[in-house]
Amino acid sequence: MQRVPSYISRSVAGSYDNEAVAIFALIFTFYLYIKTLNTGSLFYATLNAISYFYMVCSWGGYTFIINLIPMHVLLCIVTGRYSSRLYIAYAPLVVLGTLLASLVPVVGFNAVMTSEHFASFLVFIIIHVVALVYYIKGILSPKMFKVAVTFVVSIGLVVCGAALAVLIALVASSPTKGWSGRSLSLLDPTYASKYIPIIASVSEHQPPTWPSYFMDINVLAFLVPAGIIACFLPLSDASSFVILYIVTSVYFSGVMVRLMLVLAPAACIMSGIALSAAFDVFTRSIKFQLPGATENFERDAGETSSNSVVAQNDVAKTEKNEDAVKERPSKKNRKKEKENVEKPSVKSQIKKKLLILPLEASIIAIFLLVLLGAFYVVHCVWAAAEAYSAPSIVLTSHSHDGLHVFDDFREAYAWLSHNTEVDDKVASWWDYGYQTTAMANRTVIVDNNTWNNTHIATVGTAMSSPEKAAWEIFNSLDVKYVLVVFGGLVGYPSDDINKFLWMVRIGGGVFPHIKEPDYLRDGQYRIDSQATPTMLNCLMYKLSYYRFVETDGKAFDRVRRTEIGKKYFKLTHFEEVFTTHHWMVRIYKLKPLKNRIRGRAKKSKSKASSTTSTKRIGMKKKNPWH
């Protein structure tokens, strides 16, 4: 699984992320859950809760666990698969897990308050009811039991109905129905774009495209259906869980690119099951035929008679094998699993006559499967090297005279870190917050983990305001430097001008005087001569294109493939202090206000208001001259 590109996309050195850790925790939690389900050991249940805690610490995606496991439990109960093992697997996880999760500061009381966790408690209640029912069933005679059931059901329904009504009333009273925005956007893919622009603005939160599916999971995409079939053959608790896992993760990955990450291990497990089942069949038929050549002649007669017994044995053994298979894929080690599956099957293979394929066909099939796996490895390495290993901070391009490196981001961050004061604050769009903090060692206004929507909106507003208003906003935030990313000179597409509409939307969401239509000409976002005056006068436009026209005389933007609308302008409240080699990062400094202008402005203002204050100010102004 280490090779699956969608996982690599998160774990390469350039963009190391806590998801890399979280996926391990996720899979480990699932593994322990299934282990508990199979063994019914309280020890593993405790471990499970602890690994769930680990998951909560590492990633917000823990809600996936806390919803998936109750779903599975519910499924088991509905299909009549309730057992004490299921209870042991589930109850300690909910109790211990919730307690531990609420220890994590970010989660805190959310662990019991929000709707994401509601499902787990509901199922927790249900499983207790079911456990009680089974217990009573065990101690009472069938007749008494029937009476008891009617009694309990009638009372239970009333109580449950009341409880549900209260809960629904509570939940409905909160505006988002207790769901956080991200979760809602998962359930309703169109939710985010309607209500919360900040979530929709992240490219990771967009739905993925088909090529990206193919790029990321490749061969696995074809093996997964096979794996699902293999899981259904003997449907056990564990295999139903795996099926549930793959189904939900496919859905989630369809909603957000980022959750391809969750799909990756699921796809690996499924295709691992598929492969192992395939290998099982093929190796079995080979094993049967190879030693059979010498010994079988003597025994053929006797064997036909005992075949019926053997067939029964077979069923028992395959079930065992399947169980083994289910546990191991969770360890993410497909290869090991193959070996392990082969081993137990070796002994009983000799007699297995069912599902036998011709020797040549099975050898060829195994060869092809190995080839498939090998090609997949090649593809993964290629994808890792080409698509994901390039760190987003250092860009490269191949030109006729070799590799060209665009190291502009680090150039700018190094400049900031060495040539500004230690306590200077830098404002930029939040995408660059972490980078600025880490590489330039300067305080930023918003970063990638800013939870306060208003903060981000303030910066967005400043960027979309005219220069003077922006200066005032930044000055009130004690900002010294403003950093913008501009790709127009070299054609770097993910620059601030392309992200600008999001700034307008997010800013407009909090400060209503920023209106998106002001920046659009007939619903189109453009920066050429047709652009609206609001657009051409906003800070982002000015900072990006300041003196850009002097580079080629026409001011041709290579990203937007157009000439810019307003070419010659001067900055009055900002000054350019640094621009990197390829103009990708431009840093501006807020100019201090000039005394003379300030005095004049105040005078005119105070004249309008009251006379007493004019006098006082006038006195103050005059004093230095006396």
Binding site: G302, E303, S306, V394, N419
Partner: protein, 610 residues
């Protein structure tokens, strides 16, 4: 200009000081090189002794504010007219505070080992290098301005001795000269200004001059440079240099426009530091150039057998006042720098920075010797502050001894070799690998011991006893299994003997083998009995026992059947019956035997599963 005014006052005070020695300087030639930021003043002094006493020291005087920038000072004996520098001997130079001298002067005394007798004369070459002697003026310039610097000196040589004839020439870079002090006998030749000759000047005569000129060479100053030289006796000297660089020319003010810089780089941003050239020793390898946020991709490297040249560009062009920090590192072959000397090892490596024309404010050289080095001593060609510390690296026990040498105001002239002597036993080299090997060895030994040791806490706990019993049962079942295997092989032998019989017709041999097998089987059944008893006694075996018993019964039956078959076959052979008849007779038995054999195999497999 307060500076110059001070000097004038100070000159007036100087003139009143009496001469203390009978020496006088008959001829002085001074050449000042202002083309680089480290100002070098070469003075050729002809010293004569007019008194009767033997004089063993010559005093050199510098004003205090010049002396604090003095980075490097040597006095060599210039013998003969030719410039044969190999024959020159350098004299020891020390700071002295002679009595009765004016307070704002710093004196350096050149000791003459032979002394200067009456009427003798001596020619001294004095090289003094000053860092920070060029002052930018104006101090703040915009990107478009050129950088101007001013340099102050005295046209008359400042000396406690009377001077007969002297001259001064100032070499400037090939650029505009803004202004220079014009006093008597001033001439200008292109980029060279000549003052003098001046004759018969009293001691401490002083005539301040200033030269104001365009200097666009970058003023790269390393405020701190830490060079770490780590010796590995496995064949590598690793040098790591941490630079803290600042451009100390005129401060940049106002905007920095990349556009102007890119469009007219030599006009807008002429004084910026674009690149630095480091001359590394030959055969340097594994060279890297990075800073705290990763590799810096703008560097070039050339190598030839004589030197390795590394051209590094900072991440951004450095304007006046801008700073940066970076690290370069390289490995050098050990045999080029480490030698054996009289039982000691001697590291001979250059002291200063390999970067051209770099002035270092504080240079700290750390020599990390291998762990276990003793008798460490350092010899440096100039005074340095010495210290010692220890550094812990991988697998170190007591730490590696580190020699710390610290020097301020380092100019390129300090790029001389210094030596570190130490004793180190070659055997200590193997200590760390051995530590690793033994560590892993003991780990595995511990694993082996753990696997073989019985670590259960209580020997009487029920689970432990159950486990013991279960082990016993398993061992017993295993033995049973072995016995059955042998039984089955005995059966096979019987069958084989029958086949032999049908081929050869040798009844006696067949009978013999039957007897042998019979005995063997009896022995085996005897062996089986105690095992069975022990299995019966243990409660854990309850579930296996019926199977085992069944197995035994079946096997008995099989055995009997085989015996019967065998005896019938042998009998019929003795009766010389035809092959077909024998087969007919045996056929039924054969069928039963196969069936039984099948059952036994199944049972055995079942037991194996347990």
């Amino acid at each position: 200009m307060g500076f110059r005014f001070d000097l004038l006052l100070f000159v007036i005070t100087l003139l009143s000081v009496p001469v203390l020695s009978d020496l006088f300087l008959s001829k002085i030639d001074r050449r000042i090189d202002l083309t680089t930021q480290a100002v070098g003043i070469t003075a050729t002094l002809k010293v004569e002794n007019a008194g009767s006493d033997l004089v063993s020291e010559v005093l050199l005087a510098f004003p205090d504010d010049q002396a604090k920038h003095l980075a490097y000072l040597t006095a060599t004996n210039n013998e003969g007219k030719g410039k044969a520098k190999s024959s020159s001997v350098s004299f020891p130079v020390d700071v002295v505070r002679p009595k009765g001298m004016p307070p704002s002067l710093t004196f350096y005394s050149v000791s003459l080992p032979k002394g200067l007798g009456k009427g003798d004369s001596l020619t001294l070459d004095v090289l003094a290098v000053f860092a920070h002697a060029l002052q930018p003026f104006p101090e703040r310039i915009s990107q478009a301005d050129i950088q101007l610097v001013v340099f102050y000196e005295t046209a008359h040589y400042l000396s406690p001795y009377a001077v007969k004839v002297q001259s001064l020439s100032v070499k400037l870079p090939d650029a505009r000269i803004e202004s220079f002090s014009k006093i008597e006998n001033t001439k200008i030749h292109g980029s060279e200004i000549k003052y003098g000759p001046y004759e018969n000047l009293p001691p401490f005569s002083y005539s301040p001059i200033a030269v104001h000129f365009e200097a666009n060479q970058p003023f790269a100053i390393a405020q701190q440079l830490i060079r770490e030289i780590e010796i590995s006796h496995w064949g590598n000297v690793q040098v790591t240099e941490h630079y803290n660089l600042v451009h100390e020319g005129a401060q940049s003010k106002g905007e920095f426009s990349r556009l102007d810089y890119q469009a007219r780089p030599h006009v807008r941003g002429a004084s910026a530091i674009r690149h630095l050239v480091a001359k590394l020793p030959p055969r340097a390898h594994s060279i890297y150039y990075r800073d705290e946020i990763g590799n810096i991709s703008t560097s070039k490297l050339w190598g030839d057998p004589k030197k390795t040249e590394l051209v590094i560009e900072p991440r951004y062009p450095m304007f006046g006042g801008w700073r940066t920090a970076f690290t370069i590192g390289y490995g050098l072959p050990l045999q080029d720098f480490l030698f054996h000397l009289e039982g000691k090892r001697c590291l001979n490596i250059s002291f200063g920075s390999p970067i051209n024309e770099l002035v270092v404010d504080t240079l700290i050289v750390k020599v990390v010797l291998p762990e276990g080095s003793t008798d460490i001593s350092v010899s440096a060609p100039f005074p340095v502050k010495q210290g010692q510390e220890t550094k812990f690296s991988h697998l170190d026990v007591v730490g590696r001894p580190v020699i710390v040498l610290e020097k301020t105001n380092v100019v390129p002239e300090h790029n001389q070799h210094f030596q570190v002597y130490y004793k180190f036993s070659s055997l200590s080299m193997f200590r760390e690998p051995l530590m690793l090997i033994s560590g892993f060895f003991f780990l595995f030994v511990a694993c082996i011991i753990y696997m073989h040791a019985d670590l259960s806490i209580s020997k009487s706990s029920p689970s432990y006893l159950a486990k013991l019993q279960w082990d016993e049962v398993q061992a017993g079942v295993q033995q049973v299994r072995n016995i059955f295997d042998r039984c089955l092989t005995a059966h096979d032998k019987l069958e084989a003997s029958l086949r032999d019989l049908s081929r050869t017709g040798d009844v006696q041999a067949c009978k013999a083998s039957w007897k042998a097998v019979d005995n063997l089987l009896k022995d085996l059944s005897k062996d089986l009995k105690p095992l069975l008893v022990s299995l019966q006694s243990s409660p854990q075996a309850a579930q296996i026992l019926p199977k085992v018993e069944e197995l035994i019964a079946k096997e008995r039956e099989l055995q009997e059947k085989l015996m019967v078959k065998h005896s019938t076959v042998v009998d019929s052979y003795e009766k010389k019956l035809s092959g077909r008849e024998i087969e007919n007779r045996v056929a039924l038995q054969q069928q039963k035997i196969t069936a039984l054999r099948q059952e036994v195999d199944d049972l055995l497999d079942f037991i194996d599963e347990i």
